[in-house]
Assembly symmetry: C2
Homo-oligomer: 214 residues x 2
Amino acid sequence: MALKLRGTVGSSATFRALAALYEKDLDFDFVPVNLSDKENKSPQFLADHNPFGQVPVFEHDDLKLFESRAITKYVAETFADKGTSLIYKDPKKSAIQTVWMEVEAQKFDPTTSKLGWEIVLKPIFGMTTDESVVAEFLKKLEPVLDVYEKRLTECKYLGGDSFTLADLHHLPNLHYLMGTKVKSLFDARPHVSAWASDILSRPAWVKVASMLPK
Amino acid sequence: MALKLRGTVGSSATFRALAALYEKDLDFDFVPVNLSDKENKSPQFLADHNPFGQVPVFEHDDLKLFESRAITKYVAETFADKGTSLIYKDPKKSAIQTVWMEVEAQKFDPTTSKLGWEIVLKPIFGMTTDESVVAEFLKKLEPVLDVYEKRLTECKYLGGDSFTLADLHHLPNLHYLMGTKVKSLFDARPHVSAWASDILSRPAWVKVASMLPK
């Protein structure tokens, strides 16, 4: 069994896949992809790894997968008995977990990715944060977090009573935003705040985050 | 077994769920939700059906689900032996199908939903289409369709050799855009064009589309 993840340290999507691999306690090769050199846009990368020119790309023997959430799902299902169980086997619990995975992908991610771009990434690239865009997306994030707050009074994690992919998928964007003023929106909601602290302190995530330059 | 779908005729997400239910040849109650009256934002709807105040919402006995792609996945898995098989059982084929379901959700849907809003919905609501936004999103759609064109030379459908949820999820936005100038982007790519015609002519989809006022 040969497992390989091609990706880039710091990329939210790469970190999402890495978090799942570490939670499952799997041995794998990590192959860095240099986005600054546009290695991901080379004809070879497009033909062999991902036609969209993005990271991460996962290989399990002859199977190649891209899209981080497809990778985490495959890893969770294929290595169901290793490490942390990241999915429910019961069909109804699994369906509820899927609802909250969709909420992350459709509601949390588009909003927090935009905030991360404006507040965290633009300054790194020497660009200026557009405060009107920040204000617009903070306004979009608030009602999402209100729903999370209510949900987390009903069960400990978004997908149910245990930590699953429905929580894990939030980790990269959560991590980046916790170092910004967006944190105050989480702090204002006690269950959301406790959930964020809980999942960000998981050893698998701490291991991922430690890959970032100090 | 009691199945119920609450939704709104014309809503892309409702139509996505309906397409899956018709493909599976299931008996279900369709309960119309009046978005013009903001029925979906009423305290009762938010508490009982979907805290985000959106359609569709699906009920199977005591299980309630929202998010259209979570609904189609549950329907496809739970009623695997009824009607059209919309998922692969083989784990590797299933993983590839999931990649293309993610591509739809992350790449096709954000772009085509924006185009649908500008070109189809704004005029209905008496608003003016912003042609600069249209141009921006046509430019984003082109490379996605280029990848689709290549993919569809390799296999008949996006997820593999048979029609699955990876194709079905595209239907509502495809349907709306085929009546607009965006169709020319599909026409320019023979495999994409043939694929779109094929899946739009499926009896289950024709049944969904016939619910629209003439």
